[in-house]
Structure formats: structure tokens, C-alpha cells
Amino acid sequence: MPEPILAEGAAPGDSVTQPPLPEAVDRILTGWGRTSPTAARVITPGEPADVVRSLWSHNGATRPGVIARGLGRSYGDAAQCAGGLVIETGRLDRIGAINDAGEVEVDAGVSLAALLRTSLPQGWFVPVTPGTRQVTIGGAIAADIHGKNHHQDGSFCAHVTSITLATPTGVLQVSQSVDPALFWATAGGMGLTGVILGATIRMRRVETAWMRVDTERHGELQGLMDALERVDATHRYSVAWLDCSARGRHLGRGILDAGDHARASELGASAARDPLAAPHDARFKVPVALPAPLVGGLSVAAFNRAWYAKSPSRPGRIRPLGGFFHPLDALGDWNRLFGPRGFVQYQYVVPSERRDVIVSTLELLQRAGAACSMAVLKRFGPGDPGPLSFPMAGWTLALDLPVGPPGLRRALRELDQLVLAAHGRVYLAKDSRLGPVAFAAMYPRLSEFETTLRRVDPEGLMQSDLSRRLRIGSLAR
């Protein structure tokens, strides 16, 4: 057990006179998919100590329920807590100095975009990045996020050397060797072990902010999957995008991007002038929610076909890092394109030998008439020890699906069964519709997670709409 760090000598229940906390405001919150809005009191503390006070002052409230919220990039209801308190981390934004080993101490509210703006010019890249830079360190740890390099480097928390965590019973510093049970419960624990205040991350050395990318176009799924397997060993980063609307012998055709950080010597003259320039933030935003989805069945099919057509096979192209990792960040608030009913993302992983599940998925969605605007296929390496951490060795498929087609809900429930039967699981950071029974079957180490929860949160203070929906918690069963 680690020594508890007491915030300025305080312990839960102490009533030392302190300056007032920032005011909490009532707000409607949703995830990135904009489904299931609920209202909560939202507080945005400016200091880690204020986070601790907000958390502890909510102890014993008539309606329990506190959860942290980063940038709200999880798709479903993970970062909302109806009727409870939501602690936003946006003002916890300090970034420490990066030492020679690449280790940097950062506050939980720091976004990967902000971290990269500081670190890239010094030649350091984040160890793992999702498909957007607009996620916080807290969100990255809580979801134990993965990137295109999972097959080589594992997920985010493998590169976290310590976490400072405010639990309902005390502030603790944990690592892979100090209280590993709590460290790994926090990795992928969706905020339920407490509020992460900060962490130390081990960064990756890069010579440039550019990527050398091999692009391959494959006319059918098995060839594409063979290629993905092949590049596991040859490239640090790989991902494939599938054309969901292709049928028959073209089912699952798609584009494979396999990349590595470019060496300085590989850059052209203009790029070589500033090899470590950080990517820009979004220059355009979708101003308002569209009254009807722009992303309907027909436009989706046309978009998929066009993307496929415009991406012929090309080896060794030098591309800016932003375009390779975060293509969607160029357009701010793009989730508004899906109209008022929002969209769901369904992401699962199944073991390597279960390629058939990918095939069945595409067929099932086509039968159900679901318009899939984006389908991304990747390979994972082995998972880490987190009991709720999502990645495990195998295939992961992520599907963006606008809410609307009447058969979609049922199709996804069928998909749950397919995934379960293959001993796979669904990613909580993307989920907005799984049920508690299927969830418990997909995450058989849930009870181990809840044992740790009982230790740090015996009263069940930490709650989110997701934890209520899936019945996760020390008092949940």
C-alpha cells in the first residue's frame, strides 16, 4: 500500500476553512456521439487540491455520483453523471519539463494536442495517440487508449510510470510497482477509481513531425487482413479503412496505411526547414447541429466509394503527422454532421483466429440496412493487466453508425452475441448501448476490478451514466 498523499494536510471529512470552490453549473452533457443527454452539476476546478475538495465535499450528498470529465471524446455516457457532480479537468493544464529519459509530469486535463505542441519541437512524441489529439491525459488513462502502434507498443498505460489519483478515501500515488492493483484498475477503469490529478508519461523520441507511409489498396478482405498481419513486424503504425458498402467478392475491400516516423534525412527541402513543427488545430468548425443528418445511407456509400477510389497503392510517401494520426481533427465538431439523433460507434476486439467475425459483421450490417460511415480495422498485440482494459491480441473493428435505421439497435445486439461467442469484447470508451449482462460476460475480470473499488470507494461515490447502465461499482451487485 502506498502512503496516502494528503492534499495540504487534509483528509476526507476535515472542515478546514479554505477559499470557496468555483461555482458548479447545471449542464446537459453527452458524449461525442451526442446520444442520451443528461443533466449534472459541473465544476471546473483550477487546482488539483480543489478537485479533491469537490470530490470529498460530495461525500454523503443525498444523491451520490461523481465522475471526472476530460474533453468528452468518449462516444457514449462515460463522462456524464445524471443528477450528480461532474468534475471537469480542463483547467488542470500544467506540463512539466521533459527529462532526458523522455519522462514528463503532466496534469490530468492536459490534452494530447497541448502536450504535442510543447513536446514535438523538442523531439518527443506521445507514446500512444488515438484518432484525435483532442483527448486529455485523464481520459487516455481512464480508457487505456490504444493507437495504430498497439501491435508493437501496447496501450497508453504501458507508458505511464505513475498516476496521482484522488479517490473518495484519499489521494494516492500509484504505479506499476506501487499498488499495482489500483494502478491497473485505474487503467481502463473509466474514471470509477477516482479522479486522476496527474501522471508521469514516458514519451517517444522522434527526429521529425513527419511520417513515412506505405499505402496499399486491397480489393477484398482476406488479402487486406493478410497485409495487416504482415506489417505487424515491419511497421510501428498500421491501420486499415474498410469500404462498408462494398459487397460480394469485394466485401471488406479497403486501404491499408502502414507508417513509421520519418528520419530527418528523408524529408524534402521545405519540410526539412522545420522538421519538428507541431500540427495545427482545427481551422474549420461545423457551426451548428444540422437539423437532419448529412451522413445518410446514400451519401455514406458515395463517400466510401470515393475514398476507396482516391487512395491507390503508394509506397514510402512522406506525410505530415497530423494527417496520418488525426485526419478528422482538421474539422472541428464534426460529430454535428450526424444530425440531432447522433451516432454510435461500435468497436470490438476478437482473437486473431476469428477473422470470420469481421466478415459476419459486415454482412450483418448490410442486411440490417445500417449506414456505416467509417469502418477501421486494426490488429492488437497482447493486452496489459488492466481488468477492464479493452485491448487484447487480435482484430479490432470500429464502426461509426448514425442512429436512425430502424434495424440498427437489434443488429448491434446480434453483434454483441457474435463478439461474445468469439470471446471478444466491446470498447467501453465507444459504447453507449451495451447491457449489463453482455458486459459482464465480455469482461470476466469485472469482480477483480470491483474488489479494488470496494477498497478505495466503499460507499460507491464514483458513478457515471455508463457505470449505472452497465451496473459497475462496489455496490452494484
Partner: protein
């Protein structure tokens, strides 16, 4: 919690013995709803409805007795329902009582009873439900209205007036819920062939409890404020509402 498709995990049904309410519960439970609290008057039918919900797969089913003539009790019934369910994701307001026209027309007591059961009690209960939604920061409600209240007819004006009142009340209450996480959907079925309408001759366009339940749940998923069942009644009533009173009166239903 409600999922991305507005499917609840727990439901409280006021007027749980009505055929439409039972059909709605059946659908929701088969879609994964686990906790069901059924409130109604007739204990025998209530037990039947509870058995049905269990059989459909609900893991927790509780029943609550109430009499919709006792308006003072409405808030208490809602409170008991919320505490029995823990957290309520969806409230279905399904109670209703047809008047016997023309027999009831000259009997103030019977008129009052019809207005109370169809309007006053549900309105009082909904007021309390809205309060719980505000506190929970979430919650959806399905309120069973009727096309009889959209444009009230001579032949059914007692029931029609009550439903007109409830319809307007629920939609307005929904406006007060903006920003609270709560949301109310009003369902306007056409003539439903059910226990309630037994012995009445069905007009040319009629529907069934199962069809209404499907439309109601689809409306919930859409986030609709008003759901017509069947859907084309929306179009028909757009026209009927414009008819001059003189013609409306002479229509043969």
C-alpha cells in the same frame, strides 16, 4: 440509464393494467429492460401484468396499488414508484377510462370521474414525475393521449376533453423540462381495439395495442414530442383540424 436508443433499464408504469401499457412493457423488457414497477387499481390484472413482465425476462418486478379517483395520493404513488425502482429511466402514463356517452352526460359525478382519471390524476402524477426527473438529471416519459382529444367530438366529448387537457398539459410540462435531462413524449393513438373499447364498433381506421406500443417505443428512440399511431393519422388530422365546425359536426363518427 437509457441507452443510445432510448431503451430504459427501469420503467415505472402508471395504469399498468391497460392493454397498451402491457404491450409497451413487453417490448421494453424483451429489449433488455430489467426493472419494472407496475402501478394500477385492479389487483388481479396487476398480478397478471407482473407475471407477464417476469416471463418476458424482467429480473425485478414490483406492483403498487392506487385509485386514480384519489387525486391527493398521486404524488405519493409516484414517490413510491421511484423509490421501488431505485432510479426510473422511463415513466409510462397509461391509465384511462372511457365515458359512457350519452348516459354520463347529465351526471356531474360521472363526468368528474372521467375527467379525474383521464386528466387530473395523470396531470398531478406527471407534475411529480417531472420533479423526480429534475432531481435525477434524466428520465423519459410516455404519456398516452388520444386522437379523441385532438379535435373533440360530440359523441365522445367527456373523454375527449380530458385527453385534450392531458395532451396540452404534458406537452407544456415538457417545455418546462428543457435543460433538466427529462423529456416527455405524448402518444396519440387512433381507435385501439382493446379491452377498453370492447363492445364499441370500431371505425374504419383502427389499430391494436401492439402496434401502438411499437410506434410509442420508436417515437421514444426518435426523441419525438408527439407520436401518432398509426403515423398517417398526423396527416389525416392536419386536414380534420381545418374542417369548419359545421362539417365536423356532421361527420359520421
Amino acid at each position: 440509464m437509457n441507452d443510445a436508443f432510448a431503451r430504459p433499464n427501469s420503467v415505472l408504469v402508471l395504469g399498468a393494467t391497460s392493454d397498451i401499457a402491457r404491450a409497451i412493457v413487453g417490448l421494453l423488457v424483451r429489449d433488455g429492460c430489467e426493472r419494472v414497477v407496475l402501478a394500477g387499481r385492479d389487483q388481479v390484472r396487476l398480478a397478471e401484468a407482473a407475471g407477464e413482465a417476469k416471463e418476458a425476462g424482467a429480473s425485478f418486478v414490483a406492483t403498487l396499488g392506487f385509485d386514480a379517483n384519489e387525486v391527493d395520493q398521486a404524488a405519493g404513488v409516484v414517490d413510491s414508484g421511484f423509490s421501488a425502482a431505485g432510479r426510473v429511466d422511463l415513466v409510462v402514463v397509461g391509465l384511462g377510462l372511457l365515458a359512457d356517452q350519452p348516459e354520463d352526460e347529465r351526471d356531474p359525478t360521472r363526468v368528474t370521474r372521467c375527467l379525474t382519471v383521464n386528466f387530473t390524476w395523470p396531470a398531478a402524477a406527471l407534475t411529480r414525475v417531472a420533479e423526480h426527473f429534475r432531481e435525477q438529471g434524466s428520465g423519459r416519459a410516455l404519456v398516452l393521449s388520444s386522437v379523441a382529444g385532438v379535435r373533440v367530438r360530440r359523441s365522445n366529448y367527456i373523454y375527449g376533453s380530458a385527453k385534450a387537457g392531458l395532451d396540452a398539459y404534458a406537452r407544456s410540462l415538457n417545455q418546462t423540462l428543457a435543460g433538466s435531462g427529462g423529456f416527455i413524449t405524448v402518444v396519440r393513438p387512433g381507435f385501439v381495439v382493446s379491452r377498453m373499447t370492447e363492445g364499441r364498433s370500431a371505425p374504419p381506421i383502427s389499430t391494436t395495442p401492439d402496434a401502438v406500443a411499437r410506434d410509442a417505443v420508436a417515437g421514444l428512440e426518435r426523441g419525438a414530442e408527439v407520436v401518432w399511431s398509426p403515423g398517417y393519422l398526423a396527416v389525416i388530422f392536419r386536414v380534420l383540424r381545418l374542417l369548419p365546425e359545421a362539417i365536423w359536426r356532421r361527420l359520421p363518427f
